[in-house]
């Protein structure tokens, strides 16, 4: 498996950590795991930690956008953190920065959500 998905249920948010390569092949796993966790969880908010992502392409943008819609549809917020320079460029190109909240790391993402709750 070239991508690992770790999901932690924090009191304030669902923390999703991705490790490895996010492409068309692995995007389906991310979609399924996150979709289920979001649906089952009482948490309204999601933190997506991409610190350990070594590769991502437009399939990753698609799955992030899909989860963003799912979360905001439930009235929650999505904070993305730990994005590397190449993911940064993809976010910029697609306009994702305009809708998704970005924080430097998981700690600042948690603080951000505490601030808004």
């Amino acid at each position: 498996m070239s991508l690992q998905v770790e999901i932690e249920h924090d009191s304030k948010a669902l923390i999703v950590r991705l490790k490895g390569e996010l492409d068309h092949h692995t995007a389906e796993t991310v979609r399924a795991r996150m979709e289920e966790a979001i649906a089952d969880s009482n948490c309204r908010n999601v933190i997506l930690n991409m610190e350990h992502l070594s590769f991502m392409d437009s399939s990753g943008l698609g799955v992030i956008l899909g989860r963003y819609k799912q979360i905001t549809g439930k009235g929650g917020k999505m904070v993305v953190c730990g994005i590397n320079p190449s993911v940064h460029r993809l976010f910029q190109m697609s306009g994702l920065f305009k809708i998704v909240t970005v924080e430097e790391n998981e700690r600042s993402a948690v603080l951000r959500l505490e601030g808004v709750s």
């Binding site: 492409d23 068309h24 590769f55 392409d57 399939s59 190449s86 190109m93």
Partner: protein, 151 residues
């Protein structure tokens, strides 16, 4: 002028996406590209191969994808080819955020990324015949493949 090339043929299966990008990156490695350049190349290979699998062959694993990478000095030409459905309206397909398959959570950014990461992109396609994406990029960080005398 030094030339080199390689051709890769593989089944149109999503599990081959990482294999394809790693192989092209390995072929380029003797030019000693920067990590950013390698990442750009791996990303565009991934985009073109994903398009061939999803749109060209509509996930039919019987489909065959061919990648040719050519090096002429430090200019890379990358050709990704399929014999799938083809694209009816290339202009539309190249629009940022356009996708013909919104139900699959596609971002519609594939061609935009390829155009941005490469110096040049051309698409040859015909409905029912398949699609050929031709991209070129100068690898700026490339070490000369051989030293000219007096340098």
């Amino acid at each position: 002028m030094e030339k080199n090339f390689m051709t890769l043929r593989f089944a149109a299966k999503s599990e081959n996406e990482s294999f394809a990008r790693v192989t092209v990156a390995a072929f380029l490695s003797r030019l000693d590209p920067t990590l950013d350049e390698l990442m750009d190349i791996k990303t565009v290979v991934s985009e073109a191969v994903t398009n061939a699998i999803i749109h060209g062959y509509e996930n039919d694993p019987e489909g065959i994808i061919t990648i040719t990478a050519q090096l002429e000095d430090n200019v890379l030409t990358l050709i990704v080819e399929d014999q799938g459905r083809g694209i009816a309206d290339v202009e539309l397909a190249r629009q940022p955020l356009y996708t013909s398959r919104p139900e699959l959570e596609r971002s519609g950014m594939g061609f935009t990324i390829m155009e941005n990461f490469m110096d040049r992109l051309e698409v040859e396609t015909a409905p029912g015949k398949g699609t050929k994406v031709i991209m070129t990029k100068r690898i700026e960080s490339a070490k000369p493949l051989y030293n000219e005398s007096g340098r």
